[in-house]
């Protein structure tokens, strides 16, 4: 059985504000050296998926740069491999993608030509480590038409922001409610679907051309909830969705300071592949102090770094203090500056003695290239 991977990476992620003015949410840097899409891409590759289509639309440049020819995921292949699916102009087709369903519909040729019989669809801005094979096996053992991945959310999540699933004893989905005002279940749908490719194509042909909505979930699949056999497979590991907003993005990064979560994502699960940058190991000089933090390659640390995520090529000068912050690539924190509860996008420069103190519930966010 061969599975085609489709990753939705076209959305901006409006809740992410300044962080996504020039990139799609799937291209957001995370955990020091990764971008969000690395996790889904790596999960797919680890699950023996050899052809991956990435649906892009909003500001795709950094995503395109990052993925390149797919080398790092070993997807630069003669047969199969990585396909970047941007909307394009054709003789009878001059639309941008109007939704996830429309996006796939516009790429029907890609689906038709691929020799895979099944499709796994997933978002490019989620973080988790999972071998989808378990879900595939579940799908076949249940004789399902469509299988959803879900997770039982605890109270660190705002349940009402997630689509909720009700299942019968067998695991069959009997109800789906999108972000209800009143919760019906703690089983949240994770936006990851598995189904037969030809069934998907059939559903799209019958829906999109005469539809008013273009969402793969709400307009294409869910209307068939009673007609087809929808099943739900439970995921137990760490899973978060960046798109929920800046606070969620901050939480995800801080979660990585937890030994258990870091182990689950990087050491016991799949190798997470990302674009290589050829930087040397980070250096701590004589005045450095690093505590409960992640420090990436190419950094030179002379100041104090506490409870923070430091991306590649960052310099933290002597006497500077960085606490509970996320510092993205190539940012420089000058001597004596003090930052706390802040997120600095790439290539910022924080001047000598500057104080930038946010609060846990009121994070400061500085866009790419800020000089403060």
């Amino acid at each position: 059985m061969k599975v085609l991977g489709l990753i939705f990476a076209g959305g901006r992620g409006e809740n992410l504000g300044l962080l996504t003015t020039k990139r799609a949410s799937a291209a957001l840097p995370v955990a020091g050296k990764y971008r969000m899409i690395d996790f889904t891409m790596s999960n797919m590759v680890a699950s023996d998926i050899r052809r991956v289509g990435v649906l892009t639309q909003y500001s795709p440049r950094s995503l395109i740069d990052h993925l390149g020819s797919g080398k790092e995921w070993d997807l630069d292949r003669k047969h199969g491999g990585l396909a970047l699916l941007q909307p394009y102009m054709a003789i009878n087709n001059k639309y941008w993608y109007r939704g996830t369903g429309d996006a796939i519909h516009q790429n029907m040729t890609f689906l038709r030509r691929s020799d895979e019989d099944y499709v796994l669809m997933a978002s490019g801005d989620h973080i988790y480590s999972f071998n989808y094979s378990d879900m595939f096996n579940y799908h076949f053992s249940k004789g399902a038409d469509v299988t959803f991945l879900y997770k039982e959310l605890d109270d660190t999540y705002n349940l009402s922001e997630y689509g909720q699933i009700e299942t019968d004893e067998d695991g069959r989905v009997i109800q789906f409610v999108e972000k209800p005002s009143e919760n019906v279940s703690n089983k949240a749908f994770l936006g990851i679907y598995f189904l037969n490719k030809h069934l998907l194509m059939d559903l799209l042909y019958n829906t999109i051309p005469q539809s008013e909505g273009y969402d793969i979930l709400l307009d294409v699949l869910i209307p068939n909830l009673n007609k087809l056999r929808f099943y739900a497979y439970k995921f137990d590991g760490y899973w978060r969705n960046t798109k929920k907003g800046v606070d969620e993005y901050f939480k995800i990064n801080m979660d990585l300071l937890n030994d258990e979560i870091r182990k689950q994502l990087f050491y016991t699960g799949n190798t997470v592949h990302t674009k290589l940058k050829d930087l040397p190991s980070p250096k701590c000089t004589g005045t450095a102090h690093v505590e409960n933090s992640i420090v990436s390659d190419g950094c030179i640390i002379s100041g104090r770094v506490i409870n923070s995520i430091v991306s590649r090529g960052v310099q933290i000068k002597a006497g500077a203090v960085v606490e509970n912050s996320i510092i993205m690539q190539d940012t420089v924190i000058e001597e004596g500056a003090h930052v706390k509860y802040s997120i600095f996008d790439k290539e910022c420069n924080i001047r000598t003695e500057k104080r930038l103190i946010g609060r846990k519930d009121d994070l400061l966010v500085f866009e790419k290239g800020s000089v403060i």
Binding site: G32, F266, V272, L279, P280, T287, I300
Partner: protein, 419 residues
């Protein structure tokens, strides 16, 4: 200009004075500087100089080296026309033997060079640590209308006895060559980096191959012969950082030089990157109780102890309360809690049990091989497993694959060896 030059990297060196570090691998494959291997410096210099045709001549235990170079992707040398080619000795109908010397290694690959047919050949060693723009040297070579050029560096007069010394006239033409002289006439030491006009080198190699009295070595035969013949051979003076990490002490010292606040070899220079092939690992994590100064800590490390003046390669784990100073810890080493390590080199994938202390006591001469092990530094080999609460002195050697059952007495005094 750049496409007319081919680099030939001599990577057959055994590196016997690196002791257990070269038990299973050739010297160019020895790890260096947190994530590199020694040969990365020569290869990176080539691509940074715009030289994209590189032959690597291997011989001694090349498997690790071959796997490291692979198809040359990390150096962007996986090219359609050119790129990196690993040249190994191969069999003839007549059942030919191995490369005899560095010149023989090139001679055996005349066909590779003939096919490439460059104008110039750059001959390098894969054993040295430095960052050098070979284009500067080529420009010098061309401007002198030289047949051969040799990169040289001024060394202190009292060290000249360790080098091949070049005596030049005012135009930098080499007029005399002294191999490891007692009384040097100059302080210009050869760095083993040569540029030759290909037609000239080709002829020299063919002549040398016929000469039965020759040991077929560049430094010992080819260059002295050229000087003797009064050929147009020039000395290019290089002034930057250059190290031959030939001994355990110089290996240890050169690594630690990288953590100076303004190191002579700057790995962080954007315009002169060093490339390597590494495992894919997450960034380094420093725990709540970590203290880390004057150190390099690589990807995949998880640090819960205290580090000072040390280089940690990828995937090293340091337990709580452990103190590591003045040490080089290679990839994948796991260090338990409460361990104390100083002045040590610990090779890949070793495990150090909790409470163990390495580098204690006074210096003593090494019982096994004082020629190789002759400093304060203790060396722990590959894949060893040191039990808890062991004590290991200075200038000790723990050979590769030693485990807790290899000896009854884990109170290893200075200078002792465990097999």
């Amino acid at each position: 200009m750049q496409s007319s030059i081919v680099a030939m990297v001599l990577a057959g060196g055994q590196g016997t004075r690196l002791g257990v570090l070269t038990d299973d691998i050739a010297k160019p494959a020895v790890p260096f500087g947190g994530k590199y291997r020694i040969i990365d410096f020569a290869l990176s210099n080539c691509v940074n100089s715009g030289i994209y045709k590189v032959g690597v001549l291997t011989q001694y235990k090349p498997h690790k080296l071959n796997a490291h170079i692979g198809i040359g992707r990390p150096w962007d040398l996986d090219r359609k026309g050119g790129g990196v080619t690993v040249l190994q000795p191969y069999t003839y109908e007549s059942g030919k033997a191995w490369f005899k010397g560095t010149a023989d290694a090139l001679y055996e690959n005349l066909d590779y060079l003939d096919k490439t047919n460059p104008k110039y050949v750059l001959v390098l060693s894969g054993d040295h640590i430095y960052g050098m723009d070979y284009m500067d040297m080529l420009t010098f070579h061309i401007s002198k209308h030289a047949k051969a050029s040799c990169a040289c560096m001024n060394v202190p007069l009292n060290e000249t006895y360790r080098f091949g010394i070049m005596v030049t006239d005012i135009s930098k033409r080499i007029v005399e060559f002294q191999e490891k002289p007692q009384h040097a006439k100059s302080t210009l030491a050869s760095l083993g980096i040569y540029i030759f006009n290909w037609d000239y080198l080709r002829e020299a190699l063919i002549q040398d191959a016929k000469d039965e009295s020759s040991s077929h070595d560049f430094g010992k035969d080819i260059i002295p012969k050229m000087v003797e013949d009064k050929d147009d051979l020039y000395a290019f003076e290089y002034e930057g950082y250059w190290r031959d990490v030939g001994t355990i002490y110089s290996y240890w010292e050169s690594n630690l030089e990288l953590i100076q606040s303004i190191p002579q070899l700057n790995l962080y220079n954007d315009s002169w990157r060093f490339y390597t092939r590494t495992e894919e690992m997450p960034p380094a994590f420093f725990g709540k109780e970590s203290v880390c100064t004057n150190s390099l800590v690589s990807e995949g490390c998880e640090i819960h102890g205290v580090l000072n003046k040390s280089i940690l390669f990828q995937g090293v784990q340091v337990g709580k309360g452990s103190i590591i100073k003045d040490s080089i810890i290679l990839t994948g080493v796991k260090i338990g809690d409460g361990v104390e390590i100083s002045n040590a080199v610990i090779a890949e994938n070793s495990e150090i049990g909790s409470g163990t202390r390495i580098g204690v006591g006074d210096f003593a001469e090494n019982e096994e091989n004082p020629g190789v092990y002759n400093s304060q530094i203790s060396v722990i080999g590959y894949n060893t497993n040191i039990p808890e609460n062991a004590i290991i002195g200075k200038n000790c050697v723990i050979h590769s694959d030693v485990n807790q059952d290899s000896t009854d007495n884990w109170h290893v005094q200075s200078g002792r060896c465990i097999r």
